[in-house]
C-alpha cells in the first residue's frame, strides 16, 4: 500500500461524494428526517386514548369509580349515557375503547358483585394491551379504596404490586427507538451508499482504467472506505446530538465505547456494501440486494422494533446472525444501562470479527479483473 496513491484516491472519492446529490441525501437528509420522524413521530406509548364512557348508572358512586380517567395523561374520555351511543362512537373511529357502566352498577356493588364492560377496538394491538391494563388497574385501585372505606370488617391482606422500571425513567419508546436509529443510519450509509457508488464505478468502466495502473486493490478498498466512513460519523454525530439534546435520551455508558462500537459497525457495513457491489457490479441489483439483506433485516430482526425474545426461535436465530443485532444490543446497553462488563466485551469482539470478515471478503473480491 502506497500512501500517496491512497491519498489521491481518497481525495477523488471526496470530490465525487461532495458533488453527488445522492450522497448528501442518503448521508445527511435521510438521517435528519429519520431523527425527526422517529424521535417525535414514532411512539408506542398510550397517550390521550379516546375512551367513550357509557354512564348508564349516573350515581355518584359510579362517577367516583371512573375518576381515574379524568386528568390521566393516558385517556381522553367522553361521556355518553348509553352503550349504544358509545359503540356508535367507536364505529365512527372516534373512540378506541368503550367502557360501559351498567344501570345496576351501584346496587350490585352494594350486594358485592358489580360488573363493568370494556370493549376495545382490536386493530391496534399495542394500544389494546395498554388500554386494557390501565383501565383494569385504575378500577382495581378504586375498588381497594372503596373496600377500605366501606367494609371495615372483612380484612384480609392483599398483595399489591409496586412496579419500577429501570433504564427508562421517562418510560417513552423514543428512548428505545433513538439508539436503534443510529444502527439504521449506519447501515444506510455503509451498505446502501457504498454499494451504489462502487457498483457505479463498475458500470461506468472507470475501474477498468484504474485497474491498469500501479494502484493496488487494497488502496481502492481503503480509499472507498474513508469518505463514507466520514459521512457515517457525521450521521452518528447528528443522531447522538439529537438524542441527547433534542429528546433527552441519557447516555449512561461510555461515549468512547459508543464511538468505538460504531466504528466497528461502520466498517462491517462498508465491507458489506463493497462485497455486494463487487458481486453484482450493477447499481439496480446492488441497491435491491442491499435493501433485502441489510436494511430490512436491520429494521425487522435486530430487536429494533420487536423484541427478539418474543419471536419464534428460528427467526431469533436468523436475527443473531446479523451483526446489526449485536450493535443494537450494545448501543441500547451503553445508552440506557451504562457500561456493563462482559456483555459489552462480547458484543465488541463479535463486531470486530464481522468487521475483519467483511473487510477481507471485499478485498478478496476486488481483484483486478474485468468480465
Amino acid at each position: 500500500m502506497n500512501i500517496h496513491r491512497f491519498l489521491a484516491l481518497t481525495r477523488k472519492e471526496f470530490y465525487q461524494m461532495l458533488r453527488d446529490p445522492s450522497s448528501f441525501l442518503i448521508g445527511i437528509v435521510i438521517p435528519l428526517m429519520l431523527i425527526v420522524l422517529m424521535g417525535s413521530g414514532l411512539s408506542l406509548d398510550v397517550k390521550n386514548l379516546p375512551v367513550a364512557v357509557a354512564l348508564e348508572d349516573t350515581s355518584p358512586t359510579a362517577r367516583d369509580a371512573l375518576s381515574f380517567l379524568n386528568g390521566s395523561p393516558y385517556f381522553s374520555p367522553s361521556y355518553v349515557t348509553s352503550s349504544k351511543e358509545a359503540i356508535a362512537l367507536m364505529d365512527a373511529r372516534q373512540a378506541d375503547a368503550v367502557l360501559v357502566i351498567p344501570p345496576d352498577f351501584t346496587s350490585r356493588l352494594e350486594q358485592g358483585h358489580a360488573t363493568v364492560q370494556i370493549l376495545l377496538y382490536g386493530i391496534d394491538a399495542t394500544t389494546v394491551n395498554a388500554a386494557n391494563q390501565y383501565i383494569t388497574s385504575g378500577l382495581q385501585s378504586w375498588q381497594s379504596q372503596w373496600v377500605a372505606a366501606h367494609r371495615k370488617s372483612a380484612r384480609t391482606g392483599t398483595v399489591i404490586v409496586v412496579p419500577r422500571q429501570w433504564f427508562n425513567d421517562a418510560n417513552t419508546s423514543s428512548w428505545m427507538f433513538l439508539p436503534g436509529l443510529i444502527v439504521i443510519v449506519m447501515t444506510l450509509v455503509g451498505v446502501f451508499l457504498t454499494a451504489l457508488v462502487m457498483a457505479r464505478e463498475w458500470e461506468r468502466g472507470t475501474l477498468e482504467a484504474i485497474f491498469a495502473t500501479p494502484v493496488r486493490p487494497l488502496e481502492i478498498i481503503a480509499a472507498k472506505t474513508i469518505p463514507y466512513f466520514c459521512i457515517a460519523m457525521v450521521g452518528l454525530g447528528l443522531c447522538l446530538m439529537a438524542s441527547y439534546y433534542g429528546y433527552g435520551v441519557p447516555i449512561h455508558g461510555s461515549l468512547l465505547l459508543v464511538f468505538l462500537s460504531s466504528v466497528e459497525y461502520v466498517f462491517i457495513a462498508i465491507g458489506m456494501g463493497l462485497t455486494i457491489s463487487s458481486l453484482v457490479k450493477n447499481q439496480f441489483l446492488a441497491c435491491q440486494i442491499a435493501l433485502v439483506v441489510s436494511l430490512l433485516p436491520t429494521i425487522m430482526l435486530s430487536g429494533f422494533l420487536f423484541d427478539l425474545r418474543s419471536v419464534p426461535i428460528a427467526i431469533s436465530l436468523i436475527g443473531h446472525i446479523l451483526p446489526a443485532t449485536y450493535y443494537m444490543e450494545l448501543l441500547k446497553m451503553l445508552f440506557l444501562a451504562g457500561t456493563t462488563g462482559p456483555i459489552v466485551i462480547k458484543d465488541c469482539l463479535i463486531l470486530l470479527v464481522y468487521a475483519l470478515l467483511f473487510f477481507c471478503l471485499s478485498w478478496k473480491l476486488t481483484c483486478k479483473e474485468v468480465s
Binding site: R11, Y15, R19, R204, E208, A209, A212, T213, V215, K368
Partner: protein, 584 residues
C-alpha cells in the same frame, strides 16, 4: 525502432464460458503477436474479432486459458502488477471520472503514478498543450465533447510516461478533426519519445498510419505485416469506374456490390467508384455492364482497406449474415424538386449557448441528405429538431407539409428513426419489438402481421424473431433497428450516425440497403462522422459552431474544399477556413 519486444503473445487462447444468456465464445484462439519497442501497431478487425479481449489480457485484467503472453518483459499471468506499473491503458469508455474536472482527473493519475511535483507541472503543461485542453482545465470531464474526452483520456494515460500505451477503439464517435489531432499526437510521441503504442480500431485508414498491423477475425489472425506489405493482397485487383453525369455514384456501387462472386468491395469516391475484384485479372464481364454498357474501367493503386475487405470476404465471415438486397431499377429515379422537409431560420438555444444559429435549408423528396460537422457543431441538435425530439427556440420546421410545432404527433407518423446506438428494447424479442413499434404507428392486427412479415423478410430476421433483441449480434441489431423504423413504410427516414463504430463490411451492407430504399422514393436524412460516406449522399450540409457553412452536392463541396482528393480533407479544409474567417 529497436528490437526490444514489448508484447509477445504465443498461442494465446481465451474462451468465455456459456451463460444462460449467451453461448460459449472463443474470443481468441492460438494467437501469435509481437509488438516491438517504439512502434505504432494497429489491431484491426470487425466486431467480435477479439480486439478488446486481447487488450484486457495485455493489461492483466483477464486470465488467459492457454498460451503465453509477456508484456514489458513480464509474464502477465504471473505478475500483472509489474505490467500495470509500466503501461498506460485507455478503455473504450475512456475511464474518466465525469464529475471531476480536467485538472482533477490529470492530478489523480499523476498521484497514482507517483509523479514528483516538479516533473508533474512540466508534464501537465506539455500534455495540455498537446491536447489543446489548456483552456478547459476547470471543466468537469462529463461536460466535454466526445473528442475532448478522448484526448483527456489519452492525457491521463500519458502522465506517467508509460513504456507501452494501449488504446481501445479511441476514435469511435469522434469527428475527423479530432481524429486527425489524436493521430498527430500519437506520431509525435512515437517519434520523439519512442513510445510503443498498440491501437484497436475499426477505421482501416487509421491503421495505414501505423508501422505494423494485425488483422483479426473471430479470434484468429488473418494476416499481419506493415501496411505496405499488407497491400499485396489487393495488388492488381483494384479498379475504378467513371460515373456518368446525372447518375448517383451509389447506384454504380450497388450494381458492383451485387456482383457478389466477382466484386469484393466497392466504394463511391467523387466522380468515380473504386472496386476490387476477387481475381488478379478483371473479369470479362461484370454485372455492371448490363446496366452501364461502355463503362470506362481503369486500374488504380491498392489501399489497406481493399486488402482488409478481400481478406475478410475470403474468410467467409459475413456471407451468411448478409441479407438479400432490394433490387435496383435500371434507371435511377430522378429526384423531383418537391421539398419534403423545410427548415426556415431555425435557432436553438440552451441557456445562453446558441447551438444552432439562424439556419435554413430544405430537403427534396427522394434524396439522401447528409448532415456533417465536427463534434459540437450543432448537427445533432439540428437533427433532433428535424425529428421532433427537440423544439426550436425560433423559426419553423415543416415535415411532409406538416408544421412540427402545431402537429408534432402527425408529423412523426411520416418519419422513421434509427438512433445512434441500439435503442430498441433489449429484453423483448425481435417479434415483440416489431409488434410494439407497429402498434405505436397505428398498424392494426392484420396489417401489422403483413408488414412484420415483409420487413422481417427484407432484413432477413425471420430466423431470429423469437430471440431477445439484446442478445443479437451487432449486425442483426442494426437491421432490426432499420426494420422497426421502416415498419410503417414512412416517406422519410432519419439515421443518426448509423455506422459509428461499425466495421467496413457492415457499413457496405448498410449503405446498400439505404441505396435500395432511396431508389424506391424514400427520403433519407443521415448524420455521419465518416466523411467518405458523404459520397453516398445526393446533397450534404456542413455545420460548424452552430452555423451552416456549406451545402450542396458532394462534388460541389469538394470543389469548395479546394478540390481536395478525399472528402475528409475537403471537410477539414472547409471547417478550418470557416473558423479562420470567423475568428478574423
Amino acid at each position: 525502432m529497436s528490437d526490444i519486444i514489448m508484447i509477445q503473445a504465443h498461442h494465446l487462447t481465451k474462451q468465455f464460458p456459456a451463460r444462460p444468456s449467451s453461448p460459449a465464445v472463443t474470443a481468441l484462439s492460438t494467437l501469435n503477436l509481437t509488438v516491438k519497442k517504439g512502434t505504432l501497431t494497429a489491431l484491426i478487425g470487425p466486431d467480435g474479432a477479439g480486439k478488446t479481449t486481447f487488450m484486457r489480457l495485455v493489461c492483466g485484467l483477464l486470465q488467459s486459458d492457454s498460451g503465453s503472453l509477456s508484456v514489458c518483459g513480464y509474464d502477465v499471468q504471473q505478475s500483472p502488477q509489474a505490467v500495470q506499473d509500466r503501461i498506460g491503458y485507455m478503455p473504450q469508455k475512456f475511464g474518466l471520472y465525469e464529475d471531476l474536472s480536467v485538472m482533477e482527473n490529470l492530478t489523480l493519475y499523476a498521484d497514482i503514478h507517483s509523479i514528483p511535483p516538479d516533473l508533474r507541472q512540466k508534464h501537465f503543461r506539455e500534455l495540455l498543450d498537446l491536447t489543446g485542453l489548456s483552456p478547459f482545465t476547470a471543466r468537469p470531464a462529463g461536460k466535454l465533447s466526445g473528442g475532448m474526452k478522448q484526448k483527456l483520456g489519452l492525457a491521463c494515460t500519458l502522465v506517467s510516461t508509460p513504456d507501452l500505451l494501449l488504446l481501445d477503439e479511441p476514435t469511435v464517435g469522434v469527428d475527423p478533426l479530432s481524429r486527425r489531432e489524436l493521430w498527430h499526437i500519437l506520431h509525435t510521441l512515437s517519434e520523439e519519445k519512442s513510445l510503443t503504442v498498440l491501437v484497436n480500431t475499426s477505421y482501416i485508414e487509421e491503421a495505414e498510419q501505423c508501422q505494423y498491423a494485425y488483422i483479426l477475425h473471430k479470434g484468429q489472425l488473418l494476416a499481419d505485416g506493415t501496411p505496405e506489405s499488407l497491400l499485396q493482397y489487393a495488388r492488381g485487383r483494384c479498379y475504378a469506374v467513371r460515373v456518368p453525369q446525372g447518375m448517383p455514384p451509389r447506384f454504380i456501387q450497388s450494381w458492383l456490390l451485387d456482383d457478389r462472386h466477382v466484386v469484393m468491395d466497392a466504394v463511391p469516391e467523387g466522380s468515380q467508384v473504386r472496386f476490387t475484384v476477387s481475381s488478379r485479372q478483371l473479369p470479362n464481364h461484370l454485372l455492371l455492364q448490363n446496366y452501364l454498357p461502355g463503362a470506362v474501367i481503369t486500374p488504380v493503386s491498392p489501399r489497406l482497406e481493399d486488402s482488409f475487405m478481400i481478406l475478410l470476404r475470403k474468410a467467409g465471415s459475413t456471407e451468411e449474415e448478409t441479407p438479400g438486397m432490394p433490387s435496383l431499377p435500371k434507371v435511377p429515379p430522378a429526384i423531383s424538386g418537391d421539398t419534403i422537409i423545410e427548415a426556415h431560420d431555425i435557432v436553438r438555444r440552451f441557456g445562453s449557448f446558441v447551438a444552432v444559429d439562424h439556419t435554413s435549408f430544405s430537403v427534396h423528396k427522394g434524396e439522401i441528405f447528409g448532415l456533417l460537422g465536427p463534434n459540437g457543431a450543432g448537427k445533432s441538435t439540428t437533427f433532433r429538431m428535424l425529428c421532433g425530439l427537440l423544439s426550436a427556440s425560433s423559426g419553423t420546421i415543416s415535415v411532409y407539409g406538416v408544421n412540427l410545432r402545431t402537429a408534432r404527433a402527425r408529423a412523426r407518423s411520416y418519419i422513421g428513426y434509427v438512433a445512434q446506438k441500439f435503442s430498441l428494447y433489449s429484453t423483448l424479442s425481435v417479434y415483440e419489438n416489431l409488434c410494439f413499434f407497429g402498434r405505436a404507428y397505428g398498424l392494426a392486427a392484420h396489417k401489422l402481421q403483413e408488414r412484420i412479415e415483409t420487413v422481417a423478410g427484407q432484413f432477413h430476421l425471420n430466423n431470429c424473431l423469437s430471440m431477445a433483441a439484446g442478445s443479437l449480434p451487432g449486425g442483426y441489431k442494426q437491421r432490426l433497428s432499420m426494420a422497426a423504423a421502416l415498419l410503417h413504410d414512412p416517406p422519410i427516414l432519419f439515421l443518426d450516425e448509423p455506422t459509428s463504430g461499425i466495421d467496413p463490411l457492415a457499413r457496405r451492407t448498410f449503405w446498400r440497403q439505404i441505396t435500395g430504399l432511396a431508389a424506391r422514393g424514400t427520403t433519407i436524412v443521415v448524420t455521419t462522422h465518416f466523411m467518405e460516406e458523404a459520397e453516398y449522399c445526393d446533397r450534404i450540409m456542413i455545420q460548424d459552431r452552430g452555423r451552416l457553412i456549406a451545402i450542396g452536392t458532394p462534388s460541389a463541396i469538394r470543389h469548395q474544399g479546394g478540390d481536395s482528393p478525399t472528402m475528409n480533407e475537403a471537410f477539414i479544409h472547409i471547417v478550418e477556413t470557416g473558423r479562420q474567417k470567423e475568428d478574423s
